[in-house]
């Protein structure tokens, strides 16, 4: 009970500090922008720790963050091996192939309104096929190693990316297109000088959605068969033997990798679409 009260008091205090900082001049500095979410995250961790201890929740249901941290630091080599297998081999290659293929397909079908009208609804339909069903099929087709994981990722990211890119290629204003027309610009000239730059905000939208999909896809696919390493493999076997601290260590890796991946894509987006109103100010 003491724990619970202490945790509640701590939570309120931390929230107070955060509101203070966010609304002060400090909140607008770079340090403030990093500090506030970090403090928020720390608060969650401490509240979690306090509740698990205070309510004596068994570690086999929810381990405290401290135990996860210990497990994390003791298992760096395994975590790294799993990360290489799942993220670098499975997720990244699938992300690159899927997004690349979708981008090229978008440019191809962009010339044909007929294909667009036909392919996009069907594509949306296919994108709605749940991964739980497709993953075992793709594992059956492409084998146990990272190739099948990449295939799952490709299947997951292809259509979100395609739809966004096609949409983006349409995003030019009539006047911008007319201008190209007055120059009697060729198809490729107006593609490279007008439509691709104008499409970039949408392309990055698709890329950002795909980053989180890629990681989840690669991990989930490992539940349906894998070599004896990988983040999904580790999670599924550790659940079986109630090694929940290891499960959470892997989840931590996933969350960090996913957030960093997202962050990097966001940074590139800032550089490429610096001109877009949403990036200014």
């Amino acid at each position: 009970m003491i724990w619970v009260i202490a945790v509640t008091i701590f939570w309120i205090a931390a929230l107070g500090v955060n509101i203070r900082i966010a609304n002060s001049a400090w909140g607008n500095t770079r340090a403030g922008r990093i500090f506030v979410p970090v403090l928020f995250g720390l608060t969650i961790l401490i509240v979690w720790e306090g509740l698990v201890r205070g309510l004596q929740i068994p570690a086999v249901i929810l381990p405290p963050p401290s135990a996860i941290a210990v497990r994390f630091s003791e298992s760096l080599d395994i975590l790294w091996m799993d990360f290489v297998q799942t993220f670098l081999k499975g997720a990244l290659s699938g992300f690159a192939i899927g997004c690349g293929a979708a981008f090229l397909t978008a440019i191809l079908i962009d010339r044909s309104p007929f294909l667009q009208r036909g392919l996009l609804p069907v594509g949306n339909f296919i994108a709605a096929l749940p991964i739980i069903g497709t993953a075992p099929i793709l594992v059956m087709w492409f084998g146990f190693d990272w190739q099948s994981k990449a295939a799952v990722v490709v299947a997951m990211v292809f259509f979100p990316m395609l739809v966004n890119t096609v949409q983006g290629l349409k995003e030019t204003e009539a006047m911008q297109r007319d201008l190209m027309h007055t120059y009697a610009a060729s198809y490729w000239q107006s593609l490279f000088k007008l439509r691709l730059p104008a499409a970039m905000p949408f392309v990055f939208n698709g890329l950002k959605i795909s980053t989180t999909l890629a990681l989840i896809g690669a991990i989930v696919a490992e539940f349906f068969g894998s070599p004896t390493r990988g983040m999904g493999f580790r999670i599924s076997i550790e659940v079986g033997r109630l090694g929940l601290d290891m499960v959470w260590a892997e989840i931590t890796v996933a969350a960090i990798a996913g957030t960093l991946f997202y962050g990097i894509v966001t940074l590139v987006e800032k550089k490429v679409t610096f001109w877009h109103p949403s990036q200014r100010k």
Binding site: L15, N18, I19, A22, N23, G27, G32, R33, V36, P37, L39, F40, G41, I61, L62, F114, L115, Q116, R117, G118, L119, P121, V122, N124, F125, I126, A128, L129, P130, I131, I132, G133, T134, P136, I137, M140, W141, T212, L215, I216, I219, V220, F223, F224, M231, G232, I235, S236, V239, L244, V247, E250, I251, A254, A255, A257, G258, T259, F261, Y262
Partner: protein
Amino acid sequence: MRSIIPILTVVAAIFAIWFVGSFFMNKQWTLDQAERAGTTLSFSEVLADTMTQERPKLPTPIQVFDELWETTGAKVLDGKAMSKRSLIYHGWITLSSTLVGFVIGTLAGILLAVGIVHNKAMDMSVMPWAIASQTIPILAIAPMIVVVMNSIGVQGLLPKAIIAAYLSFFPVVVGMVKGLRSPNAMQLDLMKTYNAGQFETFWKLRLPSSMPFLFTSLKVGIAASLVGAIVAELSSSPLAGFGGRMLSGSYYGQTIQIWSALFAAAIVAACLVGIVGVIQQLTLKKMGMAQ
């Protein structure tokens, strides 16, 4: 309506590729079987066999749609629509947790977005963590959520709905934050010249201008909610719903059953998205925003 012909063309093309794919993927098995039996098969025999295998590597569209019909329409005709072998029964199980989850997720998403737009501390602290939350493999934590909810006495539909909500709240937050921030400076200034309060600005300006964004995210959200419900079914007991069908299909190597459950799920998703689309059309028309 002018999309009908292109769609049919694409669908036809996909079916053609699919048939060809079925032939090539299932061929090896047919040939192996023949070899073990010590017979040789003519091409047409191979072709016929690849189209009718019981556990094909890739079932043909005909097999899939046969199975779909057998487990839906035919059951209805037999008056056994809600039997455990009917996809309608399983569809209903999935649909109910999808819808409850969608409602929870949408409400949570909107509330969070309202908080983020009106409170700077929330804006700064929540967004990065909302992104991080979506990089966690849901399949890994779904069993824990079910168990934890179980230990506080919540069972049945709700744990699945919570997992569905977990996946659907994110698109709603992102879309609504964008939408509630979409009024431009001039529109906000206008409210200021009337000395309108935060509440009035919200009701009369922010909320209406967020509608197009809201509906776009609702479409994404409801599809995500369905995926969440299916994932949740894998860790719930008893094993039922589309997720249960896919898993038991996979477990027993019933590829046709997996594929038909997959298609049924995608059809339900398409219908749900379609319904949201219709509501969107009606609402925006009523609001005068659709031209």
